[in-house]
Amino acid sequence: MDFLLWVRGPGFDIALVVFLIGILIRLLEVLILGRKPDHSEPRGAELGAGLRTLMTRTLPEQGSFKRSPFTVVGGYIWHIGFFITLFLFVPHIELINATLGLSWPGIASNLIDAVAAVTIVTLLAMLFSRLSHPVKQFLSGPEDYLTWLVTFLPMLTGYLAYHRMIDPYPLVLGLHILSVELLMVVFPFTKLMHAFTFIFARWYNGAMAGRRGVQS
């Protein structure tokens, strides 16, 4: 119980500070770099193409889907599953409501439970794929496994907490919150930042291609 109070109190405060400051630093240190004005005569407008790419990259290019179906499908399942459990589980909505004052209806918790189970299995499969696929295995370093772990732990502990598989409940709930705090602390310093920077990345990609008249 002391542990739960710590993770809900000082622990969460620390995590929130690191998370928010870290993210803002990371975003600003990217954006303030800027880019030089392009003097070439544009063939198309940057804005529309950039925004379009921001949306269209959510769907895989057909050939890539055929060549790496597992990465694509697995990526979809776990991202969507993660967002469903994160944003549609009522206790989480309450937390967001308390922080940001935004609230929306949740979905049935046994549905969340099923989604969480699928997500956990998919994350394990993704790890297996990272360890075994020649390209992913070659590219992956400690950071990749760290980010996997800090993403996986909240899902796992959340599942254990929901099913009360660890006794007593305040302990497992505390572990769940702690794992989320770990994710929050690790977030700004790792490639988890892609959750924000992908917006710029896609926009720049689409804008630069759009200027040349290509929808990337």
Partner: protein
């Protein structure tokens, strides 16, 4: 009758029969006792066999930093009933609120009971023990700590009744001015049963005593020293409103449609998911109702530190601090730091540009 029993030292079975209670009545009693102890009805015959031979134990009840709510719960909420029968068969030798004797005579009764039942009596404690100034709470000039240590020395077991005795409770809440601690913080060499709750459910107190009376042993305990039969499952798991939680149907305010329809109170701060107690089945006031049934969320009173666990009306998943304001400050700091980090990067970029030396075709080979 208690006096009489004490004198003859009869078993419970004998004494009931002497009072003209038939075997059928005894079976009824056993069935009620099984229900009281939250044991399966199938245990009734075993209970009968044990109760038949049970002897009345001596009980010493110590009250420290408490509000007497626990005693009130035990004595007032129920008029005489099965529990009363049980109490007829335990010897409550010391309870400074209930006993007739006072002053030196009362203390003498306590010492006599300890002496006569050396190694066999049960100590029930309600209230926390101050470790700060002993004057914060003393009885007959004896500090709570001293009295507890003295009394427990010859006890068979200790039952900490109420959250104050079990976990420190209200006196221990921040900033804990008296240095209050729980019974189990002091008593390390005797079995301690925590019957937490603020107050605890009366039938749970009597259920534990009944268990000791019936089987001569303490019930199975959870990791916080509470009897599993009563504290093994959370309020949430046994709550009749649980199906609404699972369906995602929540009362948003205390007077909305959801509240009227009896939907889940999670969003109104119900601490049921992290609270282990028997309210949902045992209920209160002779099974009339219980907090959630009356439309108010569980406060989590049977859990350690429940006073300090955040607002009663904040959903369980919300951290304690004022995160909105905190987040605003932090975001401000983040923007400032981010702007600084960006400026440093920008500076590096332009310094590199001014340090640029033109690459000519004479510069293509590696400098040797």
């Amino acid at each position: 009758m208690a006096e009489e029993l004490k004198r003859i030292g009869k078993t419970l079975g004998e004494s009931l029969r002497e009072r003209g209670v038939s075997r059928r009545g005894f079976l009824k009693f056993c069935s009620a006792t099984a229900s009281l102890m939250a044991l399966p009805p199938a245990m009734a015959p075993a209970i009968a066999a044990s109760l038949e031979k049970a002897k009345r134990p001596s009980v010493i009840w110590l009250s420290f930093q408490e509000c007497t709510g626990c005693t009130e719960s035990l004595t007032r909420s129920h008029s005489p009933s099965v529990e009363n029968l049980i109490f007829d068969h335990i010897s409550l030798d010391y309870h400074h609120t209930l006993q007739v004797a006072s002053g030196a005579a009362a203390e003498a009764a306590r010492e006599a009971a300890m002496h006569e039942n050396e190694g066999q009596y049960i100590v029930v404690v309600d209230g926390s023990i101050p470790l700060g100034n002993p004057g914060y709470s003393a009885i007959a000039g004896i500090s709570n700590l001293q009295m507890l240590e003295e009394t427990v020395a010859g006890a068979a077991a200790v039952v900490a009744v109420g959250t104050c005795a079990a976990f420190g409770g209200l006196p221990q809440a921040s900033p804990n001015p008296t240095g209050a601690v729980s019974v189990s913080d002091i008593v390390k060499d005797k079995p301690v049963v925590n019957v937490s709750g603020c107050p605890p459910i009366p039938t749970v107190i009597t259920g534990v005593l009944a268990h000791f009376l019936t089987f001569g042993s303490l019930p199975e305990l959870d990791s916080l020293g509470r009897p599993m039969v009563f504290f093994g499952k959370s309020i949430h798991d046994r709550c009749y409103r649980r199906p609404f939680y699972d369906k995602g149907l929540f009362a948003e305010t205390f007077d909305d449609e959801g509240a009227r329809k009896g939907w889940c109170l999670y969003r109104l701060g119900c601490k049921g998911p992290m609270t282990y107690n028997a309210c949902a089945t045992t209920k209160w006031n002779q099974g009339a109702s219980w907090p959630v049934e009356s439309g108010h969320g569980c406060l989590g009173c049977s859990e350690p530190n429940f006073w300090d666990a955040g607002g009663f009306y904040n959903a369980l998943s919300i951290p304690d601090s004022d995160i909105t304001r905190q987040a605003a400050y932090v975001a401000g700091a983040g923007v400032a730091l981010g702007a600084a980090a960006g400026a440093i990067n920008r500076n590096k970029q332009s310094k590199a540009a001014s340090a640029h030396e033109t690459v000519t075709i004479d510069d293509l080979d590696k400098q040797s």
